[in-house]
Amino acid sequence: MSMSMQILLVVLGVVAGPLIGGLIGGLDRIITARFQSRVGPPVLQPFYDVNKLLAKEYTVVNAWQAFCAYSYLAASMISVALFFLQSDMLVIYFVQAVGAIFLVVGALSSTSPYSQIGAHRELLQMLAYEPLLVLVIIGIYIETGSFKISAVYSWDKPLLLKLPFLFVVLGYALTIKLRKSPFDLSTSHHAHQELVKGVTTDYSGPLLGLIEIAHWYDVVLFLCFCSLFWATNIAGMIILISITYFLEILIDNVSARMTWRWMLGNVWAIGLTLSLVNLIWLYQQ
């Protein structure tokens, strides 16, 4: 890849990331509303929300909180840019994890008990999905022989045929990361209230807007990871992502919020078993 091409890809990732993330959020809210026999907000609603938040009064609990919000946004942005550069999956994974940690540290820096408990639950959620994500990346490595995303794009067969169980495992991670039921423990993405607003309780105004934008980057990053499972053609990618996201919304609407113990037990038991079965099967071939 030439230098100008690389710069173009980074700009594309950084600009298109939040636009796509916001649109997906808007569609999500409309489809969810239809499931509940409501009309739902306009597609552009997430953009209205973020615009409004960015224009609100700047209130901040302490300097750490502001620093953490900016760092979370920066890390999410970098991870999407790295994905568009077709870089190393492990690097993307670590940068993404650093961003998620900054969100938690920011919430912990406030003295509000809601924010504190929300932050602890966010940590438990990360504990649940981060090991699974590593196993998914290892699965892709065993199949393609490289951690590079460019290697996945040059692979001639869709990975889904060889890694079906690992895709389900990635689905678990996606559900947690999208803050969907039954895993919306730390904060909910809808108008539900649990622990007031959990990890985002003490972020307000422009900082909350930044966190929302960072969340859009995260959604795009995880959907990009899903798209790797059918990287042979664009139509396949789009169909795979659409079906996955639709199933996520369906699961969100038919399930209740569960406890963190259930989440850890269930996600680790099912996730690790499915990953091991798939990895052993791959290794045998």
């Binding site: 609603q45 953009f47 209205y48 409004k52 609100k56 108008a191 607003k197």
Partner: protein, 144 residues
Amino acid sequence: MFKKLIRNSRMKSPWLLHFDCGSCNGCDIEVLACLTPVYDVERFGIINVGNPMHADLFLVTGTVNSRNSMVLRNLYEQMPNPKIVVAIGSCGLSGGIFREAYNVVGGVDKIIPVDVYVPGCPAKPEAIIDGVVTGLQKYDRIVN
């Protein structure tokens, strides 16, 4: 153009905080009814956030008494500007039938500035939505 965009966004995304300030729950049920599929205020981008730090609209029901006046003021002060307060129901407006009680301070406007008054015992969901829309028009005038 930038100003217009923000103004448009503010009008389309009012997040509300609902506080039961010693109401009989009649008005509270009507407020929550606005969020059900029958009235579906999420069409207008309205979300019940339940966190003063995220809210733009403050819906208060019920009488204010000496115990909860502090909570009411605290919630109001935690909301970042710009913000709008809507008092709902006879009790929220003036103290209603409880106004003579020894523990009652009176309506919501005794403690915090109120922008819109929605009468009724209980206030109808239609009236509450109308109050919110009136509040938004005032909000538009305040911020611009």
